[in-house]
Structure formats: C-alpha cells, structure tokens
Symmetry: C2
Subunit: 155 residues, 2 copies
C-alpha cells in the first residue's frame, strides 16, 4: 500500500533556509558522522536565530525535495534487502508519507545567518523548514532498537 490517498493539511510549508554541503548527494549518508555543512537561514528569518548559539545541538527539519512522492509504506531500511521489511514509521529513510527529514546536529558556529553544523545528512540545496534547540527532554541514553540496527552501531 502507498500513502497517496491520505487526507491533507492545506497549508503549505514555509522555507526558512537551505543546506549548503560540498559533497555529492550520494556520498552524504556515508560521510554523515564527520560531515560539516552550512545552513543558510533566509534574511527574513534572521531574528529567529537569536539565542541559538547557547545550544550545543539543534534539531534540523528539512524537506527532502528529491524523495519519492508516493512511496510504499513497507521498505527495506537503507535499500538493503538483507534487512527485514519495515514500516516507513520504523525507519529513518527518505521513503515516508511526508518527506520531512530530521537530524540532530552539533552546532559548531554561527556567523550571522549561517550556521555551521556537523552530522547533517541532508543534500546540498535542501530546503530547511524548522530548527529547534535540543535539550534534556530529548536525551534517552540507551534506547532500545532492533537487533540489526544495534549490530551496526556496535560495529
């Protein structure tokens, strides 16, 4: 089943900035752990950044504009068919009803409207739709995850 018949919220999203990343799209995922990118916030939104540098991490929500439009709801994570068929809501990939990506990133620096961040797995030019500060409510030190994912983390 796909998700192309779901009810819609009629209000379009506002673009608040864009991702600037020197890597080609297909290298971003693999390089993520040490990848440093820039988020250029639109000048019209600059006031929204006041105080953000007090945080060591922020959550970036971005619009995956090159994701499939009506994806299947059951997928193999990471396109790896040795991994179990998994629902879109139990995976972090690009195939999901709303192509909203989420990354918790290290906020390394702010220079005016430009934020330098580490660990953002978004492609060059991706529209950013929200930034949120990461705080203690977001910390769950040892989350339970599926066996296949734990094996990869421990490798």
């Amino acid at each position: 089943m796909s998700c192309d018949e779901l009810p819609l919220i009629p209000m379009p999203l506002r673009v608040v900035g864009h991702v600037r990343c020197a890597l080609p799209d297909d290298e971003v995922g693999r390089a993520r752990r040490h990848l440093v990118s820039t988020i250029d916030v639109l000048p019209a939104c600059a006031e929204g950044l006041v105080g953000i540098e007090a945080y060591s991490q922020i959550i970036v929500l971005f619009w995956m504009d090159r994701a499939p439009r009506d994806p299947a709801l059951l997928i193999h994570p990471r396109g790896d068919d040795t991994l179990p068929l998994t629902g879109a809501f139990a995976a972090r990939g690009r195939a999901r009803p709303n192509p909203i990506g989420l990354a918790v990133v290290d906020l390394l620096a702010r220079d005016g409207n430009a934020l330098t961040v580490r660990r953002l797995d978004a492609w060059n030019g991706t529209p950013v739709i929200d930034l949120k500060p990461y705080d203690h409510y977001d910390v769950h030190p040892d989350p339970r995850v599926p066996a296949w994912l734990r094996a990869r983390v421990e490798r």
Copy 2:
C-alpha cells in the same frame, strides 16, 4: 518581524494520524513528564508501523493546528517575560514559522494502529504528520543549553 512573507513549498502535508489525550489543552504542557496519550494512526497507514515496537522511544512530528499563523520571530519562551527575548528557532514553543511540533516520547505499547506513548506534549485531536524511530544518533548525553533552561532542569 514576522514570517508571513517567506517562500512556500507548494505540497501540502499528509495527515497520518491523530493524538488522543484526556487532558484539557492548557494542562498538557505542565503534565508532560508523566502524561500518557494515544496516537491513532489512520488505517491507510497501518503498514507504516511494522517493526516500530522494537524501539523504546519514537519521535513524533505533529501539526500544531491551534498555533498562531504568522507569529513573531522573537518571543519570550513559555510566554514568561522574565526570560530573555529569544528567536523562534532557539525555542520549542508553538510560535514558529511552520507550526510543526516535535516530541521524543516513550513508546509503551502498540495495539494495532494505536500507539500508547508517554511525554507527548500535543493536544487532543492534533494531526500527526510523521513518526520516526529514535536511535543512538539522536543521543547527546549532556547538551549545552542556556543558563535559564539549565536552572529549570536542575530544579
């Protein structure tokens, strides 16, 4: 400045479920820490849940349908004017360019399309737009936050 002149993404969001919560709206924030709610995922999306029960926490993205439409970009967090004026991107409140709420919640149980969760600060009836599993990439054990927020966490 407000954010009502920002460029838009023309594609509307899909509703994938709704929050069910027994508390009145104005009590949800305060009660958050121990609050247990239900997320009713639409039957058309049920396949998307396959495998989600392997995770102890999930990230819920929801559409804050009762949030202000064109909010100011500088606000006092929590409406408390003893706290410094802060940009919308440096705060977790409802006043933001796109009224998308985000909560990391404990996944307590799944019964078909209904997920029982703890710590979801979304009001009864709120449309849900995405669910994502929480994993080790999302854990930053001791985040730096502003002094006023740290003081509240330690209280």
